[in-house]
């Protein structure tokens, strides 16, 4: 039987949710949606039915959140609760029915992103954990990890800085670049903490798309076959995180992975 992190929502039957719940996590601009676009057809070719879902896509709350964010008047508690509403709507109306029907559910971010954002904005970690404690425990969480130095060129030369992704609500006195660096650095620290707490599979997202896709495919294959992941990803998680941190220091703007960064 499936488990939640603590409370069970009314009328939520946790038996016979035979599908697989796979989470792709990571900061803004790390390439999550690109990977999901590749993973979906790959899974379908193998005969798996796939539901892909992600933050702010609920029928109930997506439009409301968008409108509220455009106004830039959202308080941090309000913002967190609006997103939690969106998540609950998708959990009950999309994710659980799909799992019951035996789908592979690929979710672009999960409660971890929502909690990281809230904690970075100064909310009580115990409070935000409780808010999301009705979430289902996923079968696996793949955390696409990238250092801020590698992230900057990707963001600058694709979508540009976004008000919320730059944490401008937090550091309004700074320019977008400074604010982006501070905000994303704080987010990364939260993700690294959660990687251990929630047993994420950490994937270095700095190599090219194909290499990351390869790692994800191997990891997901094991989840679908019900194999343990330990033999594949050598070393305990803390070591992995440390190695990654070291590589972040050496990988700077001097050797960008994004071709556009040199110009």
């Amino acid at each position: 039987m499936r488990e939640t992190y603590s409370v069970i929502l009314p009328k939520m039957d946790l038996t016979e949710l035979t599908g697989r719940l796979i989470v792709i996590e990571g900061t803004d601009g790390v390439g999550r949606s690109t990977q999901i676009k590749l993973l979906r057809p790959w899974l379908e070719q193998q005969g798996h039915a796939v539901l892909d879902t992600g933050i702010k896509r609920s029928q109930l709350a997506a439009r409301g959140i968008q409108q509220a964010k455009e106004g830039h008047t959202l308080g941090r508690i309000t913002l967190s609760l609006f997103y939690a509403t969106d998540f609950a709507d998708r959990l009950e109306n999309e994710i659980v029915p799909a799992l019951r029907a035996g789908f592979v559910v690929l979710t672009d971010r999960y409660i971890y992103s929502l909690m990281a954002r809230a904690i970075v904005r100064g909310l009580d970690p115990a409070w935000i954990h409780n808010v999301h404690s009705f979430a289902l425990k996923p079968d696996a969480t793949f955390y696409l990890r990238i250092g801020v130095d590698d992230l900057i060129p990707r963001v600058v030369f694709s979508t540009g800085f976004d008000y919320w992704e730059s944490g401008m609500d937090l550091y309004p006195s700074e320019d977008m670049y400074e604010s982006f660096c501070r905000y994303q650095t704080s987010l990364l620290a939260q993700f690294d903490k959660m990687a251990q707490e929630y047993d994420f599979t950490v994937i270095d997202a700095s190599p090219d798309i194909r290499a990351v896709f390869e790692r994800l495919r191997r990891g997901i294959s094991r989840v679908l076959k019900g194999e343990p992941r330990e033999p594949l990803f050598a070393g305990p998680p803390p070591q992995v995180a440390e190695q990654d941190r070291d590589s972040d220091k050496s990988a700077s703007m001097e050797k960008p992975h994004h071709p556009g960064a040199e110009k």
Binding site: L9, G75, I77, T78, E92, D124, V131
Partner: protein, 227 residues
């Protein structure tokens, strides 16, 4: 982040609670008039009134898309917006804030809808504790008579129709309000609510309420805001 607790702001927060038909809104309106006449800076805040969340709530209710979980979270979102942008700044400014329904409404309704009692209480952990919370205590039958005489038909969620308690909306409303009443009763001691006998004449209830409010306002500054 502040957990539910005593606020240290100069303002005062008075809230009214009770089932539909308990007469709490009438009492709050009378209190409002009096406080204004006394020269206090008074502001009224109503449950479920945040402009930010309004469209989503309206759509969810109209299309009957809300489950106990999303009903609960959406109302918490609405409350958070009013707390962050309205109630706390006003209390900081020294205003007397009056709320028609507060977190206890959510505790009662959400628990009756099957949400975890402890989870809901923690969900509203960011709320400030009212200076006084008046609970208008009324027998179910009295409240039902007041409500059902005065209007034609109760709305879907108001009647708790989402819970499948009864096919007839009036019957469902009756059962639902009865359950909510039980939740309120158990909260009197838990949250130290000030009970007012809502079967008494309106004037008498108001006198009681004003006495209690007056005692709590001894240190409050009068803002002399023109009514």
């Amino acid at each position: 982040m502040k957990r539910y607790g005593e606020h240290r702001f100069p303002g005062k927060l008075f809230v009214v609670e009770g089932i539909d038909g308990s007469g709490k809104s009438t009492q709050l309106m009378l209190l409002h008039q009096w406080l204004q006449a006394e020269g206090y800076g008074v502001v009224f805040s109503e449950w479920n009134s945040s402009p930010l969340v309004r469209d989503t709530t309206r759509r969810g209710k109209k299309k009957q898309m809300l489950t106990p979980a999303t009903f609960s979270l959406l109302h918490a979102t609405d409350f958070a917006d009013r707390m962050e942008h309205n109630i706390i700044p006003l209390l900081k400014a020294g205003a007397v804030v009056l709320c028609d329904r507060y977190i206890y409404t959510a505790f009662a309704r959400d628990v009756v809808r099957g949400m975890d009692r402890k989870w809901v209480r923690e969900l509203y952990g960011f709320a400030v504790k009212p200076t006084a919370a008046f609970y208008f205590r009324v027998p179910l039958e009295v409240a039902m008579k007041r409500i059902l005489e005065g209007r034609n038909g109760v709305k879907f969620y108001e009647a708790g129709m989402d819970l499948g308690l009864h096919e007839d909306p009036e019957q469902s409303f009756h059962i639902f309000q009865g359950k909510i009443l039980e939740e309120y009763e158990s909260m009197i001691a838990e949250f130290d609510l000030t009970s007012v006998d809502a079967t008494l004449p309106i004037e008498e209830q108001q006198t009681q309420m004003r006495q209690i409010v007056k005692a709590k306002l001894t240190q409050a500054k009068r803002l002399r805001v023109a009514p």
